[in-house]
Symmetry: C2
Subunit: 141 residues, 2 copies
DNA sequence: ATTATTTAAGACTTGAAAGTCTTAAATATA
DNA sequence: TATATTTAAGACTTTCAAGTCTTAAATAAT
């Protein structure tokens, strides 16, 4: 469902928010902590910079940091920045024309569940995730 | 979410059940009617034969037909035959260890919605789809 | 100024899914 | 029996995401 790049992007964003740092965080640090390829993660985070979710700074003490408040960054923003919105708009059976008026055989039921997932991602901000991480132990990053 | 192969498999199965034929239906016919590649569809349906969802017969008047009653074939059977069950078992963020006891940051919410989709696919049999197709116009195949 | 450190950009390689083709095996029919 | 028709199996090619690497640009610290 989510691409590898998207999963990595979400994990990186959670790592960043969890640090609660006003300084820039180097991509190298994030890659090491999350056991990701520095090269691959760099490319992914560049997209988040371009989408305005992160801001970056070059040179020593450079890195990335959130461009907005954690309460204003939704999981959905990250997903759409990396994977686009195909999952939330395209027919589950792949019909170009599938819609409420011209549905495929499972359109209505699928659209209903898909909308719940859309809301889940739209309602889950980095702030909420951060809060959960504070309250619970045993949470994987 | 579903692979191309899986989407094609579902469409083909719906086409077959809709025909209500005791005879074998040639893959060539299905491919033409659904505007799919004969080669690609052949490979996909071979998997469904191996999984026991279809039975096939070679030679003139050969083809494929359902190996079970429409009420005993679930959408989930088709999906698992082609794509496996990764979507329903793997962590949305890609953690190997993610589980109820060792959750990732969004495990519980995701697992809840995912289970609904699992049930949707498990409850939707070819018979139910066939019934809907009879009742409604404008249903895309 | 020079050097080290960091992201930016884009070229390049790899791997897996998608898609095509060829040959073999089964079988109905003439 | 010979032929045409159909699926089976697997080799082959294409496409695109995943992943790697190199060079450039920015900037802090010495």
């Amino acid at each position: 469902m989510l691409s590898m790049a998207c999963k990595d992007a979400i994990r990186a964003m959670i790592y960043i928010v969890k640090k609660k740092s006003d300084d820039f965080i180097s991509i190298n640090e994030i890659a090491k902590e999350l056991d990701l390829s520095f090269y691959f993660l760099s490319k992914i985070l560049q997209k988040l910079v371009k989408q305005g979710l992160l801001e970056s700074y070059r040179g020593p003490k450079g890195g990335v940091r959130l461009a907005k408040k954690p309460k204003d960054i939704k999981l959905l923003d990250i997903i759409e920045a990396i994977d686009g919105n195909a999952f939330f708009t395209e027919c589950v059976l792949g019909f170009k024309e599938c819609s409420d008026s011209e549905p495929c055989a499972i359109h209505s039921k699928w659209a209903k569940e898909r909308e719940k997932i859309h809301k889940l991602f739209a309602n889950t901000t980095l702030q909420k995730i951060e809060k959960e991480l504070e309250n619970k132990l045993n949470i994987k990053l």
